[in-house]
């Protein structure tokens, strides 16, 4: 039985600009928004859009991601036919290869796609925070009788040269593609989400593979080749919330935006488009007498005795007496001991912040860095971690790191 459309989710990226946060896990597995991981967004979008078959292409540090995805049950993707499949590179009769590029990753899994004989394939990226209806995108693709469509966002003209840009005519047909140009002719940035007719995708992947000079990348090779051949290519306008959380500051910012859904446009609380995730299984959170909690998100298992303002706390975070947490993203299982001050920073999972330690600082005109503490680190009692710091090793008591 053929599937109309299946999804291929690119989750192999290292996310090197997230430094300490992605040392032991792939970027799509980075925790986000109190109880999610980044990959929950594209996966939930798939399920909410009616896509029940998803291939997840992994390569870099897949351990956490593999365990997290499991059989796909939290996303309702444990299916008899289809469902979620993790697809690492594998050895073939004729040798083996790592995924050389985004296009090569899909190429190496052509036989996976063919099992479902789809008409369309949607290529998704595992490092974006976005709530998007892929079914609406597919309807657009069909209406235009397109062979390839790409989801685009209007970005401010002054920032346009940071993006891959689609130049399109009045009918949204793409006439030109510019990769991070100095002089942008368009402000339609590609979101890296594509719908292909399967026959077209297969043809271009095979041709691209045969080209030894190719970098096997969708943006650099496949899309230019489609343009060269005058294929029917269309730009689908998306105007909801979309954020590439590829840097520490954008990840921090996106977490803060979750706290203000009325203005930021990212509404996790919408019952009609739930984001699913694997559950921590902890008991309800507890806020003690004397604690102050304002403008924050608190998750199951947290114990709050200190002050928490404008922060996102993941499952099982402990904030002890007289500790202050402000403008911070604190991931699961972290303990902030008595009197510690944690501000304007990202603290990864299972970190211990010692008594009276200081991590990060509120931004000033000259300094607005987001201090970052990696997974499992211990910051000693009375230590100081400056706003620009990126902590990958334990910091001893009283030590200062900037």
């Amino acid at each position: 039985m053929a599937k109309e459309m299946i999804a291929m989710l690119l989750a192999g990226g290292q996310g090197s600009r997230l430094y300490a946060l992605t040392e032991k896990l792939a970027k799509p597995a980075v925790p986000f928004g109190g109880k999610y991981r980044i990959i929950d967004f594209p996966l939930s979008n798939c399920v909410n859009s009616g896509i029940d078959t998803v291939g997840i292409l992994t390569q870099y540090q897949p351990l956490v991601l593999n365990e997290y995805i499991g059989n796909g049950q939290p996303w309702d993707l444990d299916r008899l036919y289809g469902g979620v499949h993790v697809l690492p590179p594998y050895q073939k009769a004729s040798g083996s290869d790592w995924y050389k590029g985004t296009a090569n990753a899909i190429y190496q899994n052509i036989s996976f796609i063919e099992r479902y004989d789809p008409q369309y394939v949607i290529i998704l990226s595992g490092d974006q925070i976005c709530k998007q209806d892929y079914n609406d995108f597919l309807q657009f693709h069909k209406e235009k009788n397109a062979e390839f469509s790409v989801a685009v966002m209007e970005v401010p003209w002054e920032e346009a040269s940071r993006f891959g840009l689609m130049v399109a005519d009045d009918d949204d047909r793409i006439t030109e593609f510019q990769e991070k140009p100095k002089e942008p002719k368009s402000n339609l940035a590609s979101m890296g989400i594509y719908i292909f007719n399967w026959d077209i995708l297969k043809k271009y992947l095979s041709e691209d593979e045969a080209d030894s000079g190719s970098e096997n990348d969708f943006g650099k090779n496949i899309i230019p080749n489609l343009l060269r051949d005058g294929r029917k290519m269309y730009a689908y306008h998306f105007n909801g919330y979309w954020k590439d959380v590829g840097t520490i500051s954008s990840l921090w910012e996106a977490n803060m935006e979750v706290l203000d859904p009325e203005h930021s446009g990212i509404d996790l609380f919408d019952e009609n488009w739930k984001i699913y995730s694997r559950n921590s299984g902890m008991t309800g959170h507890k806020i003690n007498a004397g604690a102050i909690v304002e403008n924050s998100m608190i998750t199951d298992g947290c114990r709050i005795k200190g002050t928490v303002k404008h922060s996102v706390l993941f499952a099982g975070v402990k904030v002890e007496k007289d500790a202050v947490v402000e403008d911070a993203v604190v991931m699961g299982g972290t303990v902030i001991k008595a009197g510690a001050v944690v501000k304007h920073c990202i603290i990864a999972e299972n970190v211990t912040i010692g008594e009276n330690a200081i991590v990060g600082a509120m931004p000033t005109e000259t300094e607005n860095g987001v201090a970052t503490v990696g997974t499992g680190i211990t910051i000693g009692d009375g230590a100081t971690v400056g706003p620009k710091a990126m902590i990958r090793d334990d910091v001893k008591g009283g030590e200062v790191q900037c």
């Binding site: 309800g284 998100m297 199951d300």
Partner: protein, 380 residues
């Protein structure tokens, strides 16, 4: 399993003591009463069993069991989806002339065919009105070491007033034990003694073959109650051992104790005592984290995920998806899943069942000794 002696099958009676909390079981049963901000009572016993590798569990649902079916589903959340065993729900077999189970003997008699075909050596029988994090393996070990025919768990506590003051037996039966050298020599039915007693937790452990024999005999004689009719007359013949449980125990014996046992968990010591053992599993609802808006004032509260809090909340337990609007005041309350408290409302000592709406500006106050209960889906 590596050690087949440790092999046990679980039988749970989810309707036991329903009569003690008529309000709370109006639309459900004891087992599915919400507790501790995100659980249902049965979660504690099911999770305990699951952690002790008791993965063949029978739930003898008698009536009002839709909420329980909905909650348990296939048993996945408790890791009880198995090819062999797993979670089985046994409602009364609807046949001409058949009635709901009249007692444990009746219910177990209907299960005899199933029991004969199982492989486990032991059977554990429990109710659901006790909240605990129970280690069945220790009990099984003690059973084997003592060479008992039957082992019964108890804890030392005073009898709850609600039971002692009950004028008749229509609130069901409860038991205390006389114990000599670990062996139960006397079973007191509905005693009214004051002071600390050996209070039965109604957790029974015995070999499956023995259970089948006992039930066969009792059923033929038309007997109804396992403790009164089966154990009590056989105390001379059977070696019935008492197993003392020292862990945290919260018994639900009436609406007041339901309120108190919830509130007790606001004390960190109690909370840690109950939850420091195995994790307790429950049905997943995929809520967001709870959101506290600027201006929210909260003190001493336990809150599940998915809540939205703008007002003032003190000494309270909030279940999943509760909304407290700006200017609302909530003190000493238990608000179950989906309760909405609108702006300016002021409530104290209230137990709001699921999806209750307290409209703007309403004031409603119970007292410490008499909390007000508001039924499911009501609007005030």
């Amino acid at each position: 399993m590596l050690n087949t002696n440790m092999n046990a099958l679980g039988i749970i009676f989810p309707n036991s003591y329903d009569v003690l909390v008529p309000d709370l079981v109006n639309v459900r049963m004891m087992a599915s009463i919400p507790f501790a901000s995100r659980y249902r009572l049965i979660d504690f016993i099911l999770s305990s069993m699951s952690h002790c590798d008791i993965d063949n569990v029978c739930v003898m649902a008698n009536n009002n069991y839709h909420s329980l079916m909905d909650h348990l589903g296939s048993g996945r959340e408790w890791d009880l989806v198995r090819k062999n065993g797993g979670l089985n729900i046994f409602p009364p077999f609807a046949e001409k002339g058949n009635k709901p189970y009249s007692g444990r003997v009746d219910a177990l008699a209907s299960l005899l065919g199933f029991l004969r075909n199982q492989k486990e050596k032991y059977v554990v029988i429990t109710d659901t009105n006790i909240v605990m994090n129970f280690d069945f393996n220790t009990m099984i070990k003690s059973h084997i070491e003592s060479g008992a025919d039957v082992t019964v768990a108890y804890n030392e506590q005073e009898l709850p007033e609600s039971l002692v003051q009950s004028k008749s037996n229509d609130k069901g039966f409860y038991y205390t034990f006389g114990i000599e050298n670990g062996r139960i020599t006397k079973i007191y039915v509905n005693p009214r003694e004051t002071g600390v007693q050996n209070f039965s937790m109604n957790i029974y452990l015995l070999e499956r073959e023995l259970l089948i024999d006992l039930i066969n005999t009792a059923f033929v004689r038309g007997q109804a109650y396992f403790e009164r009719d089966v154990l009590l007359p056989n105390l001379n013949k059977l070696n019935v051992q008492a197993y003392k449980y020292d862990g945290y125990v919260a018994r639900i014996t009436n609406l007041k104790s339901y309120f108190d046992e919830n509130m007790k968990l606001l004390d960190d010591y109690n909370l840690d005592s109950l939850f420091s053992g195995f994790p307790i599993y429950t049905k997943i609802r995929d809520d967001t984290p709870t959101r506290y808006i600027e201006g929210a004032k909260v003190q001493n509260i336990m809150v599940a995920d998915g809540c939205l809090i703008e007002g003032e909340v003190e000494n309270s337990i909030l279940f999943r998806g509760v909304k407290i609007a700006k200017g609302a005041k909530v003190k000493n309350c238990i608000l179950m899943q989906g309760t909405v408290v609108e702006a300016g409302a002021n409530i104290e000592y209230l137990i709001a069942d699921k999806n209750v709406l307290i409209t703007a500006g309403k004031e409603m106050k119970g007292t410490d000794t008499f909390p007000i209960y508001i039924g499911k889906s009501n609007t005030i």
